[in-house]
């Protein structure tokens, strides 16, 4: 026997909290499965595309940069250098972009009282982060097997860097997802004003040290740059960045996630009515 009451705070008991958490994890699990089906189910090549896209990106930029300069001043292999920039950055950008349409494309599901806006948004975020983490690990393995030997200096540091980027992506994703039902034009902001400029300026293709002043200073305001510097310092034995600051990046990541969740909390009722 299950007791529910709408729009009215039930008595908080341990049992009711456990019950609510159970329901929520069930719902999020079901939503992740459902998102997987709608995104990859219709085409057999769906999952392949998730791997092919970063492979293509990395190949293009490796080709471009090896054509531009023959020497490799940083000492890092170009393939792994690009890989450790592009895929972690995608963890931020793609998570943010996948999440932002969550409410409007799942609006039929709000007929089920146990499905909340939080659930549909986080489900997309979880799926994207899991897929990209898998893709990252897979591509590192592939590079190690077929191209250059990969020895990671500090796997924990790489994981921490990925977590920070995922947190930033989740925070932005929550904010955009909650605002976009009321203001659809916000989506252009996320792709045109955030995605592309950050893609070019966050140090995916160069290290902070190789950038002349005063641009180096400007770059260092960007928390993503800090994460990438730190992540590469952890990844490569031959690279140690004096610029990357874990503390600065962590403060940003936590703030972005908290701000995203707060915006969602403030907007969620209006976001549903706005549909």
């Amino acid at each position: 026997m299950q007791e529910t009451s709408a729009s009215y705070a039930p008595k908080l008991t341990l049992a009711s909290i456990v019950d609510a958490l159970n329901t929520q994890s069930r719902v999020i699990g079901a939503l992740v499965l459902r998102e997987t089906k709608t995104r990859y189910g219709e085409h057999k090549l769906g999952f392949l595309w998730a791997v092919l896209e970063p492979i293509m990106m990395v190949s293009i930029f490796v080709a471009l940069f090896s054509a531009l300069r023959s020497d490799n001043p940083s000492g890092m292999p170009l393939v792994t250098f690009m890989l450790t920039g592009i895929v972690p950055f995608t963890l931020f950008r793609s998570t943010m972009q996948q999440m932002q349409g969550a409410i409007s494309s799942n609006k039929q599901l709000f007929a089920f009282p146990q499905v909340t806006t939080f659930d549909v948004i986080i489900a997309r975020g979880i799926l994207e982060v899991l897929i990209l983490a898998g893709v990252f690990a897979f591509l590192i393995l592939m590079v190690d097997i077929s191209l250059v030997e990969v020895r990671i200096e500090s796997p924990l540091g790489v994981l921490a860097g990925c977590c920070l980027l995922a947190m930033m992506g989740l925070g932005m994703g929550f904010a955009f997802a909650s605002i976009s039902p009321l203001m659809p034009s916000i989506r252009q902001v996320s792709s045109a004003l955030l995605g592309r400029p950050l893609f070019l300026s966050s140090g995916l293709f160069f290290t902070v040290g190789s950038v002349p002043q005063p641009f180096r200073e400007y770059m260092l305001y960007n928390p993503i740059t800090h994460v990438l510097e730190c992540l590469r310092s952890s990844f490569f034995y031959e690279f140690e960045s004096p610029y990357g600051d874990w503390g600065y990046a962590t403060i940003w990541a936590v703030t972005m996630l908290a701000a995203g969740l707060l915006i969602h909390q403030a907007m969620r009722r209006r976001a549903i009515v706005g549909l």
Partner: protein, 220 residues
């Protein structure tokens, strides 16, 4: 038991504020199937969505004991690019039911045959409703919220549903909204009328239907 306490719901339109539900208080009796009649635009769908906790009221709250279904109808709740099988499994998961049982029951009861593995977007309205009702029957709710009864679909199938609900009468009740008095007469024990933001429950079905036909003629 489902109890509505001081429920108010307003919508802002370009013409001004439209009060759809004005401080509505009502207790739905246990074991009775209640029909809610209202003219087009009276706020019937809003009301059933609020009862089902799919939409928050502006003020007031709903107290419900027992498992309440989502508002059943022609649309809502389902992703149209997924198949009936996938949607049935999804519903089973979020209600914590056995996915195998719900899937099997729905497949059998809906009689969708080869369409069961086709995306819902290729379904007619009647087929979608058949699917929605079958999934909800598989979940064993104590309250079934129905937004417009199954009016399309052939008579034989309508009868099948009526019997299925009849069978569950002892431990399940239906709350059905409709603008059609025939539907209410066929399926309900008592009726409430939603008019001008007020919801009035009549113990006597006849009395309710009489007042409703008076409303209809006045509106026309």
């Amino acid at each position: 038991m489902i109890k509505l306490v001081n429920i108010t719901k307003r919508y802002r339109t370009s013409a001004g504020v439209n009060t759809v539900l004005n401080n509505v208080n009502l207790t739905f009796p246990v074991g009775k199937s209640v029909g809610i009649l209202g003219l087009n635009g009276a706020g019937k769908s809003t009301l059933i969505r609020i009862i089902g906790d799919a939409e928050p009221p502006d003020t007031g709250f709903v107290v419900s004991k027992g498992r309440v279904s989502w508002p059943l109808g022609y649309t809502g709740g389902f992703q149209t690019n997924l198949t009936a099988r996938e949607n049935a499994r999804f519903v089973a998961r979020i209600y914590g039911e056995s996915t195998e049982y719900v899937e099997a029951f729905t497949q059998e009861f809906s009689e969708l045959d080869e369409y069961f593995d086709e995306p819902l977007r290729s379904y007619s309205a009647g087929m979608r409703a058949r699917f929605a009702f079958s999934v909800s029957l598989a979940c064993n709710f104590e309250y079934y919220l129905v937004d417009e009864a199954l009016e399309t679909g052939d008579a034989r199938y309508r009868e099948k549903f009526r019997l299925a609900f009849e069978e569950r009468r002892a431990h399940a009740s239906v709350i059905l909204v409709s603008h059609n008095e025939q539907t209410i007469r066929r399926n309900c024990d008592m009726a409430a009328i939603l008019h001008d933001g007020n919801l009035t429950l009549y113990d006597d079905l006849k009395e309710a239907l009489q007042f409703y036909s008076f409303l209809q003629t006045r509106a026309a």
